[in-house]
């Protein structure tokens, strides 16, 4: 197992290196950061002066290697906007983003697991139909729209929950539900398909013949064997979750990395964008590693080569 983790960790290095190149090219082609670092009355000479001060007048290859050297030394350079080190700016927002991601996953599982099981057990009944329709609708509705609707209905009309900020656990519910419903729909559908397949297996018949109750058979044998597919999807959804957090954090004024990234992209704060994207990439990669490790616990037949 330790060898497997080590190899998988080392395998992350080439994609991360590739990511630095893609990021650099996209960000440099995307726009000119100097336009956001000067006052609106700045003359061409003044703009050139600022460009030189930040090193944006250097050849692109030289700029890339300067940036790469900073990344390798875990420095990343200073934020152009905040004039402080970029990586600490990202890392101080990491707890908020992870907190929201965790809460979203919990909500997603609380919705998806019962929905997926019931939909499979009661296949082709009105209950199955309702779950399928809601899953499709939940997937089709954009995050920001769900968020704004929740603000209007639950926050403004019913006044049950706060609509913005991160003052208490209550502030987390609406953004977590917004993000969680999106993932829940996918997991529910995968779990349903997987359950339907498992329920036709011979070992399910054997379990029933041993005299176990129907729900014991479903939960102990059916669900456990269906979870591999659901956990795989959950791992893949982490990238979607972090992408969705960019919008949801903006809507709910949740002070996480996503919100920082929105402003940083708009104002071309390249060092912060680079630090943020690399942190996101690492989260996704480690989540996938965690999912691989979980396979062994869910299904003992799986072994690591």
């Amino acid at each position: 197992m330790a060898r497997f983790i080590l190899i998988r960790t080392l395998q992350m290095i080439p994609p991360l290196f590739g990511l630095t190149i893609v990021l650099f090219v996209l960000l440099r082609l995307g726009g000119d950061p100097v336009a956001h670092l000067v006052d609106p009355m700045a003359t061409a000479d003044e703009i050139a002066e600022v460009r030189a001060a930040y090193g944006f007048d250097r050849p692109l290859l030289e700029q890339y290697f300067t940036q790469l050297r900073l990344i390798v030394t875990a420095d990343f350079g200073d934020s152009y906007r905040f004039k402080t080190a970029a990586m600490p700016l990202v890392l101080e927002r990491l707890p908020a983003t992870l907190e929201l991601a965790f809460a979203s996953i919990v909500i997603a599982l609380l919705i998806a697991v019962p929905a997926g099981i019931l939909s499979a057990v009661y296949q082709n009944t009105p209950l199955d139909f309702i779950v399928t329709v809601l899953s499709t609708l939940g997937r089709a509705m954009p995050n920001f729209w769900i968020g704004i609707m929740l603000i209007l209905i639950v926050g403004v009309e019913l006044r049950w929950l706060p609509v913005s900020g991160r003052d208490s656990w209550a502030n987390m519910i609406l953004p977590a539900v917004t993000l969680g419903t999106g993932i829940a729909t996918t997991i529910a559908r995968v779990l349903r398909s997987s359950m339907l397949e498992v329920m036709r297996k011979e070992y399910m018949v054997t379990a029933r013949s041993k005299g176990l109750s129907e729900w014991a058979v479903i939960l102990r044998h059916g669900l456990r064997n269906s979870l591999v597919a659901a956990v795989t999807v959950l791992g893949l959804q982490m990238a979607w979750l972090l992408g969705g957090s960019v919008v949801v954090e903006e809507v709910f004024a949740w002070p996480g990395i996503g919100r920082l990234m929105v402003r940083s992209v708009l104002l071309r704060d390249l060092t912060v964008v680079q630090a943020g994207v690399l942190v996101f990439a690492l989260i996704v990669m480690f989540t996938n590693l965690l999912v691989d490790i979980m396979y062994a616990y869910i299904n003992p037949r799986i072994r690591f080569a």
Binding site: D39, M41, R263
Partner: protein, 522 residues
């Protein structure tokens, strides 16, 4: 009913007590209400709490509550009032002498004195452009001389009639020198001013807390704690007001006004911003656009465009959120005039068509760039395009997001025939309004010729003219000439709105800035 009469001695005591109360210094009477707190939700919090490093309007709102300047503008009349300087004297055209307020301490206990003034400004104008975004604004100072512990002398590079505007402008907050020098060494910055509120905490992009400065030399703030929050999404900001989570919010969208006013305990208050929306034109080639030879080089075509603009319709399109103007000089800025302010101007489509015919216009394309930064700007650009097309102009409208417009058009000076943008003037002085038409700053207009030369001469003369009456005439003439030549066409002064809860007694000042020292709770 028998009224109980006071004993003469009781009457005398009552009168004496009343007189005594009236004689007490104001700060003894004004008291902070213990435990009182308000929540102020704005779009964005400062990227820096160091005033000269961040001049976004919302940042200025935060800075102005933490720091005091030497001279301040009364937020209602916009007149200059003494703050940390108790008096000033214009010794000669380039020298301003100021007496400083004694007995003032910074939030960390450091005494305020001449050293603080020198430290605050010298660190900006002796630095470099990339360090302070307001660098340009402070290079007017040649030197600051300390004449005594509470007396300083500013020497400006040229005669500077706008001295007081500049010294009361963005980034003017006086900073604690001893702590400031130590922070410059360590690189860790904490805002330490003398303002009505002192800094408590800042979670970047989330919330900023400040509390009333009990040692302020004017009436201490009645609200003990102000919590600023950043909520970029307008609908969430409005929701925070409606649910009672905020007492004051910025930029309430017009479509939410009725909802906020109908909600129990909240209301919307309009105010005039310093921003003027204008349609700017390229009149000729320059270094960034050397081969430019477009239709708007011809003054008759520019004038035709001006005559094609119906400000009455424009104001309707923006839901009435503007005051029509033909000048960027709006009240109370020196040089504003009733003739050009609050008027629909010279809409005359027949004259526009006639001018186009005289110019021999044959349908050449006019590229019209705009962003969608401001309220209804997209719709406005579409309406303007329709107005120009109605008189026979061939306009190609290109709408882009704010970032793209800034990076691709505005700063590389790649604007072509037309662009739409709003520009402000928080200095309330005309020098900055006309600066873009000075000969060395015409990157976007490429304007030249005898009238342009005359305007350049007037701009340079007005910038150093210490006679206010003459200066006013000069700026009016500059506005008249640029309007006649249709270099850029001001359309309207923008109106914005704040949302407040009924428990907060505060209304926006003339510039709409969130100066909260006078806020009280009902």
């Amino acid at each position: 009913m028998n009224a109980k009469r006071l004993h003469p001695l009781q009457t005398l005591v009552a009168i004496l007590l009343l007189l005594l109360a009236l004689m007490l210094p104001a700060q003894v009477l004004a008291q902070t209400v213990p435990g009182s707190s308000i929540s102020v939700n704005i779009g964005e919090l400062p990227t820096s709490l160091d005033p000269p490093r961040d001049w976004a309007i919302a940042s200025t709102w935060v800075h102005m509550n933490l720091f005091d300047c030497l001279v301040w503008r009364d937020r209602n009349t916009m007149e200059f009032v003494p703050f940390l300087a108790t008096s000033w004297e214009n010794v000669d055209d380039r020298t301003w002498r100021m007496n400083l307020r004694e007995g003032v301490t910074f939030h960390n206990g450091e005494p305020f004195n001449a050293d603080a003034v020198v430290w605050t400004y010298q660190r900006i104008f002796t630095a470099s452009r990339d360090q302070f975004i307001t660098f340009n604004q402070w290079t007017f100072i040649a030197e600051i001389n300390v004449l005594g512990e509470y007396e300083v002398e500013f020497v400006t590079r040229d005669s500077d009639p706008a001295f007081l505007s500049r010294i009361a402008g963005t980034g003017c907050g006086i900073q604690a020198p001893v702590a400031g020098r130590a922070m410059a060494e360590s690189g860790n910055y904490t805002p330490i001013g003398t303002g009505p509120y002192k800094f408590v905490s800042y979670a970047m992009d989330d919330n900023l807390v400040m509390e009333a400065n009990q040692d302020w030399y004017f009436d201490v703030a009645q609200v003990e704690r102000v919590v600023w929050r950043s909520i970029p999404e307008a609908s969430t900001r409005v929701a925070s007001l409606l649910t009672g989570a905020a007492d004051l919010i910025s930029a309430v969208p017009f479509q939410d006004w009725n909802r906020v006013n109908a909600n129990a305990g909240t209301s919307v208050t309009e105010y005039l911003t310093t921003q003027v929306m204008l349609l700017a034109m390229r009149s000729g080639a320059n270094e960034q656009f050397p081969g430019y030879a477009g239709p708007t080089e011809d003054v008759r075509i520019r004038q035709a465009i001006r005559h094609a603009l119906d400000r009455e319709t424009i104001i309707a399109v923006i839901d009435g959120l503007g005051v029509p103007t033909m000048s960027r000089l709006t009240p109370p800025t020196l040089g504003w005039s009733n003739e050009s302010y609050n008027t629909f101007g010279d809409f005359n489509p027949e004259r526009a068509a006639q001018l186009l015919a005289e110019a021999g216009y044959a349908g050449e394309e006019l590229v019209f760039h705009t962003s969608a930064t401001w309220i209804n700007q997209r719709e406005l650009a579409e309406v303007i395009t329709a107005m120009l097309q109605a008189v026979g102009l061939n306009v190609r409208l290109q709408i882009m997001d704010t970032t793209t417009f800034r990076e691709q058009i505005y700063f590389p000076y790649r604007n072509q025939e037309l662009y739409l943008d709003a520009l402000g003037n928080s200095f309330f002085d005309p020098w900055i309004v006309v600066l873009s038409e000075r000969s060395d700053r015409r990157e976007r207009s490429g304007w030249s010729g005898p009238v342009a030369d005359e305007v350049d001469r007037l701009i340079r003369a007005a910038a150093v003219n210490m006679n206010a009456a003459e200066r006013e005439v000069q700026y009016q003439e500059i506005q008249r000439l640029t309007y006649d030549q249709a270099v850029s066409i001001p359309l309207y002064q923008m109106i914005d709105a704040v949302g407040t809860s009924d428990r907060l007694a505060w209304s926006p000042p003339q510039d709409g800035f969130f100066w909260l020292a006078n806020a009280t709770l009902r």
